[in-house]
């Protein structure tokens, strides 16, 4: 018996839900497309990169229930790799010694994404061997290992990072050194990745992920290989974070240790928590708020850390749904 036979209205409900989602997405796209009229484009580009970072992180915590405390490793590594490829384009690894010269920015981004996907396979395979709190501690420890790797590896230039990354021409003809062109390039990447994440969440694959979040032993007893699904989600999340990191390194024209440091892993947790865990638009809202806060409070030194801590505590104690989660709850919609 199909679901429709039991709930004759579910098709209608689905249609109305899909229409709501379409409207929300169009509103977001229009707002972002018009944003450079009101806000500095550079700030908005950074906010978009962090929004993608948070959305990809949320794919894991919000829909599989896995709290990774090491997602900075994907952001940082992909940033370094794509910055290196866009600037020098050399690959020296054991006996392999290749020189492509500075590569197309799109290729550089794709190589960055590939590097974080590979990192995701290795770290994910280790981390999913334990559950819950241990999972968080393992991802944190592994990311700290990647941090030390980035500190010591020659191609990352240690404390200096990779500076002066050329923005180049995407596909050979889209000049990214022009700021507004870069802005819409970043916006296209963000919207594309956002739709991709949305598609994952609403696919049968996403349904299995949610069932693992709700009750893992039961999902296993129904015949789903939970570990395979968790690993796949972890790799997808890591690769998408890599996309954010690679794009960010082109926008800022540098890659540095900040992006791979564990405090960055904490920041993405905060963004997602503020916006709303497990909501589609929450991480976007949260990222913009946190990036804006850091921007305006930059002169206050370590008080920013203190304020972030206070927000953390306040969210956990009194505001666990987050901003978008709270709005969605009021209106009885899923956003």
């Amino acid at each position: 018996m199909t679901a429709q036979a039991i709930h004759p209205t579910s098709a209608a409900l689905d249609a109305s839900k899909r229409r709501d989602e379409m409207v929300a997405f169009v509103i977001m796209a229009v707002l972002f497309a018009a944003a450079p009229l009101a806000v500095y484009p550079f700030f908005m580009m950074q906010a978009l990169c962090f929004a993608l970072f948070a959305c990809a992180f949320n794919l894991l915590i919000g829909y599989v229930g896995l709290l990774s405390f090491g997602h900075a490793m994907f952001l940082g590594l992909a940033g370094y790799v794509s910055a290196h490829m866009a600037k020098l384009g050399t690959i020296a690894f054991g006996p392999i010694n290749l020189n492509f010269g500075p590569v197309d920015p799109v290729i550089a981004i794709l190589i960055g994404v590939a590097s974080s996907a590979i990192l995701g396979v290795v770290t994910g395979a280790l981390a999913i061997r334990r559950q819950g709190i241990y999972f968080a501690m393992i991802t944190l420890a592994l990311s700290q290992m990647i941090y030390f790797f980035c500190l010591q590896a020659p191609f990352t230039h240690g404390e200096d990072g990779i500076q002066g990354v050329p923005q180049g021409k995407a596909f050979g003809f889209i000049d990214l050194s022009h700021q507004m062109t870069m802005y819409y390039f970043v916006l296209a990447i963000f919207l594309g990745a956002f739709l991709f994440i949305h598609r994952i969440i609403n696919s049968p694959f996403g349904d299995v992920l949610k069932s693992i979040r709700e009750n893992e032993p039961r999902a296993i007893s129904l015949g789903y290989k939970a570990d395979h699904y968790k690993l796949a989600a972890f790799v997808l999340s890591g690769a998408l974070v890599g996309l954010a990191g690679a794009t960010k390194s082109l926008v800022a024209q540098n890659a540095s240790l900040t992006d791979v440091h564990f405090s960055m892993s904490g920041e993405v947790v905060l963004m997602t928590l503020v916006g709303g865990l497990g909501t589609i638009y929450g991480p976007v809202v949260g990222a913009i708020i946190i990036v804006a806060m850091q921007n305006y409070l930059a002169g206050f030194g370590q008080w920013v850390t203190v304020i972030q801590g206070v927000i953390f505590v306040a969210c956990v104690l009194a505001f666990r749904r987050g901003i978008v989660g709270e709005i969605a709850h009021r209106f009885g919609k899923s956003l």
């Binding site: 968080a136 592994l142 370590q302 203190v306 801590g309 956990v316």
Partner: protein
């Protein structure tokens, strides 16, 4: 006189071994506290590193503001920080019982940010000196190496504290209540034992241990606002390796990893920062529950 071993002078080898033992003592004290807290509260205390730092700062304040020296700090700092822990548990952590354990992690992470940020505001990032107490100054020449008294004291005293904690939990009546409450809090409450109070005191005791480690480390590592921030990540790896199921397990794992880290500094210094994480990865592959862990 030096007998080279694999081209490494014995002096350097034993020196690093001793440093490893000392770091191991801190790993043991911190992971012991984490394990005790985890057993009762089911949370990973992310603020542990920050409270370790606060312990060292309390020692510094006691000396410079109240004129109370090292021995007073060794007693007062754990009590004061333990009291802070009690307040944290009563006002915040208690409200999270019944929720997903991850919220405890997030809350204590926020607390760590607040505490570390505040100290950084007032003390910057550089280290403040704290002198070794007169009684423990100097050292002995053991022939094959020079042993500073203070370092020997840290290792021996930490071992005593770890053993006393193990004894209190595994062999005394209070400890048996504690273990019972870890297994089944509802049933223990039904016997008329005040479990919420026990939980509060356990948290206070756990962070008191962290503060004690902070005081011990003050003369060795200087007093810095971020002294616990990265240290705690290594301790988390230690906890993953050992598994939080057993008290003795966390002590043994702590010392063992400290020594391995010390040896790595001698034989392959490039990997000394990462060796604990590499071991964690290997243990996860071979025995995912941890060396002393029980499979859930």
């Amino acid at each position: 006189m030096m007998i080279p071993l694999l081209n490494i002078p014995t002096q350097a080898l034993f020196g690093q071994l001793l440093l490893g033992l000392i770091n191991g003592a801190f790993y043991a004290l911190l992971s012991l506290g984490l394990a005790v807290i985890f057993g009762m509260l089911n949370i990973v205390n992310f603020a542990h590193g920050a409270l370790y730092m606060v312990g060292a700062f309390v020692a510094y304040f006691l000396l410079n503001l109240a004129g109370l020296g090292y021995w007073w700090a060794l007693i007062l700092a754990p009590i004061l920080v333990g009291f802070v822990g009690v307040v944290i548990e009563r006002t915040m952590l208690q409200r999270l019982s019944g929720l997903d354990h991850l919220y405890g992690l997030l809350l204590t992470f926020g607390l760590a940010l607040i505490i570390q940020g505040l100290f950084q505001n007032y003390f910057g990032s550089s280290g403040l000196p704290y002198e070794i107490p007169d009684m423990l100054k100097g050292g002995k020449n053991l022939g094959f190496m020079y042993l500073p008294n203070y370092r020997a004291w840290v290792v021996v005293f930490s071992l005593v504290i770890c053993f006393a904690t193990w004894y209190a939990i595994e062999k005394t009546k209070l400890g048996s209540y504690l273990r019972a409450a870890t297994e089944n809090p509802t049933l223990v409450r039904a016997f008329g034992i005040n479990v919420p109070l026990m939980i509060t005191l356990t948290y206070g005791f756990g962070v008191g241990l962290a503060a004690l480690a902070g005081v011990l480390s003050a003369p060795i590592n200087q007093v810095r606002p971020l002294m616990g921030a990265e240290f705690i990540i290594v301790v988390f790896a230690v906890v993953v390796i050992g598994g939080m199921g057993s008290i003795m397990g966390s002590v043994v794992t702590g010392f063992l990893l400290g020594v391995i880290e010390g040896l790595t500094k001698v034989f392959y210094p490039e990997a000394s920062n990462t060796v604990v994480f590499v071991i964690m990865a290997i243990v996860l592959l071979i025995k995912p529950a941890g060396l002393f862990g029980r499979t859930a």
